[in-house]
Symmetry: C2
Subunit: 430 residues, 2 copies
């Protein structure tokens, strides 16, 4: 119990502290996520960040399980993991109550996720991720709804369609391409992982990695990966894989979603996807990056010994989204949730200040009292610094006459009002 | 990647899954917490659940650090802890920006907290805890405000004053009592820990534990711990410790808070308290238990090498609070956030259903479409099971005439309306 230890005030590396200003932005973002999801019929769920480690040992990308999770043993000898993504948790929860739930089942959540990453710009070890998923729909209507929802979330935040692009692909197309090259299952898996890293490595390294498996056919493979037209020609416009994709693009077009692009090099890191996959890209020329990602995963419930339930979902991380909004000046300016700050001429007015504050609170006005014994000017400064819009300075006169001068700190305007007139006045002003 | 592993669908032991119904209750609770805190001028902050382990090695209760935390080493060799309480995190954050922040500084948060506990009824390993703290006020006005805030939170949830009791004490009184028995610092610490366990052990064990230190004076000590009047007589009504307590009780009385009781056996487990401590007790005769707890901790910033800043705060856990509300039938009934469910006679109406849903969403009505191809009756059943209040059944006729029959599933009433009349109609009904 030595008082001599000096503890560091920094948070753990790669996680964030949310002071009121940062919390304000988080609340803004989360509120838009909740509003948009609920407007489409999605209902919120949640679960603990702590999960049994076994949940991540099947069906997720290998890299995550082996190198990137926070996994440890609890005091009772159980192996536990801080969830790196929400889909396994959601699948677990749906599997547990699969017979009681109603379908189509629409769920959303905004969990915090942990990944142990080497630190680099824009990469954090904890981030929040909006997740929306629909269970029980095997037709492309699920894909269409999920993409529209994702698009709406961005536009609700002020983004324009030209700011982003929806890139789509289908595992069936990737598989048809692989089959053209007569690849075995293990080779398919390895090549998927190489394609997934395409944007992060040089063209030469990419080609070299593919050559280990494709040998002399590498160039042909790359040309099909690079050109939509060549790939479509190679698989056939009337092939079931390409027809399915065309249907989806037509369905989105009908719904007014047109910033869609077929991208056959889109594979996504998770192994549980069974068909359609998509990502939404920020088109900022200085920093193209993936904002949202998702797809169809019809078989995930099998790992819980359950029957399959078709499922489509996506995730959208808060860090990339906040960067996106910041770059485009779409972040709102901080406003305090507190509306009135009561300053007291002296402490003997404590009881009167309390009564006034209580009257205001009962009419729905958030009210703070300055409990210091500083000069009035310093109390007002404190309100201003906290971005509280109104102050009332309370002295003997105000108490005697029952009329309180309320001052708008932005405009400088003042008005003398009775206690019961203050709330209606403020509500007219806000 | 074997599909043969069957993963368990249970969450980790001692944590909870929140399906929409449980989430609804959590949202209700959190919303009341936010509203009440903000009405008193408190602003929300947040931080990661993952903290450097050293944060808990000074100034908290020893038991927590040694036996009850989730502490592990990350992949980079750093020792980290899943926070067992919020106060150290808050103190760290305030210490970091102590010069930029405005005082009185009022902050609140609703963090999840982890403790490794042996499993027993009502004890979980993760719970949420509302925390409200005020920094920069050394007078008893801080204590009074914090207690009123705690009381208001309970009444905002529907509790009556007779349902609970506010028990208060002061470390200065405990210390004066200890000094009467000429105890050394280490003995004081040990006896505090014994008193903190008083309600959990038998009278005999309690006495026996005290006897190791107090020997022949044990009975005298216990009698002072059991009787307010005897203790006040022993310390003197005019002693500074008792006068301070009387002032606080008078101040609360002025503010209309009367269900307050002086309880000298209240010590609280944390070592950082420096004066006033309090707990709010559920008075359910079958299950008296502590709902809220808090106190004054003026020295906590010193561990960060900072100057002292006076601070008072409290925490209120969600599990005990939900139990309290359940016992008293104060929990609200689940309502879906979704207002209208569109059922389709057949899938060819997909596009029309989408247009109608979009019209409704744009007028602020949360609308889900049943994307299945089931019979209408089954689609309506699904809406009912999800507690969605209204359905619209869409057939060729509705599309042709542009009039949609909207049915209230609770009352059975139906009304045919044009698309643009639906939102005003619903808003009048909600």
């Amino acid at each position: 119990m030595s008082k001599k230890i000096k503890i560091n005030t920094e948070p753990y590396k790669g996680v964030r502290d949310f002071y009121p200003e940062e919390m304000f932005l988080q609340k803004h973002l989360f509120e838009k996520m909740r509003q948009t999801a609920e407007s489409f019929g999605y209902v919120e769920y949640s679960a603990s960040v702590l999960e049994p480690a076994e949940l991540y040992k099947a069906k997720t990308g290998e890299e995550i399980v082996n190198e990137q999770t926070y996994t440890f043993t609890d005091r009772g000898g159980r192996e536990v993991t801080l969830r790196p993504e929400m889909t396994p948790t959601l699948a677990r929860m749906v599997a547990k109550k699969s017979r009681e739930l109603s379908y189509p089942l629409r769920l959303y959540s905004i969990p915090n996720l942990f990944r142990y990453e080497r630190m680099q710009r824009g990469r954090l070890r904890e981030h929040f991720q909006f997740n929306a998923d629909i269970f029980g729909v095997s037709s492309e209507e699920a894909e269409i709804e999920i993409i529209i929802l994702a698009q709406r979330l961005l536009t609700s935040l002020g983004a324009k369609e030209k700011d982003f692009e929806i890139r789509i692909n289908d595992r069936a197309i990737t598989n048809a391409l692989f089959n053209k090259f007569k690849l075995e299952e293990e080779q398919k898996y390895t090549i998927s992982k190489i394609i997934d890293k395409k944007d992060k490595i040089s063209k030469e390294s990419f080609k070299e990695a593919l050559e280990h498996i494709l040998e002399k056919k590498t160039d042909e493979f790359i040309s099909l990966l690079d050109s939509n037209q060549e790939l479509i020609k190679a698989l056939g416009e009337e092939s079931p894989e390409i027809k399915k994709l065309t249907n989806l693009i037509d369905g989105l077009d009908d719904a007014g979603v047109r910033n869609v692009r077929f991208d056959q090099s889109l594979v996504r890191g998770f192994d549980y996807y069974t068909g359609f996959v998509f990502e939404i890209y920020d088109l900022d020329p200085e920093n193209t990056r993936s904002l949202f990602g998702g797809g169809r995963y019809d078989n995930l419930l099998e790992v819980f010994g359950q029957e399959k339930i078709p499922a489509v979902g996506f995730g959208a991380g808060d860090v990339t989204l906040l960067n996106f909004l910041e770059t485009r000046k779409l972040l709102p300016t901080y406003i305090s949730p507190i509306t009135i700050y009561i300053c007291r001429l002296n402490k003997s007015l404590a009881s009167e200040a309390g009564i006034l504050a209580d009257t205001l609170r009962k009419s729905g006005i958030n009210t703070a009292i300055d409990l210091s014994e500083r000069k009035l000017a310093d109390q007002i400064k404190s309100a201003d610094k906290q971005k509280i819009p109104f102050v009332i300075c309370l002295g003997e006169d105000e108490v005697k006459t029952g009329r309180f001068r309320i001052k708008n700190l932005t405009t400088g305007q003042e008005k003398a009002l009775k206690a019961e007139e203050i709330a209606p006045f403020i509500k007219g002003k806000l």
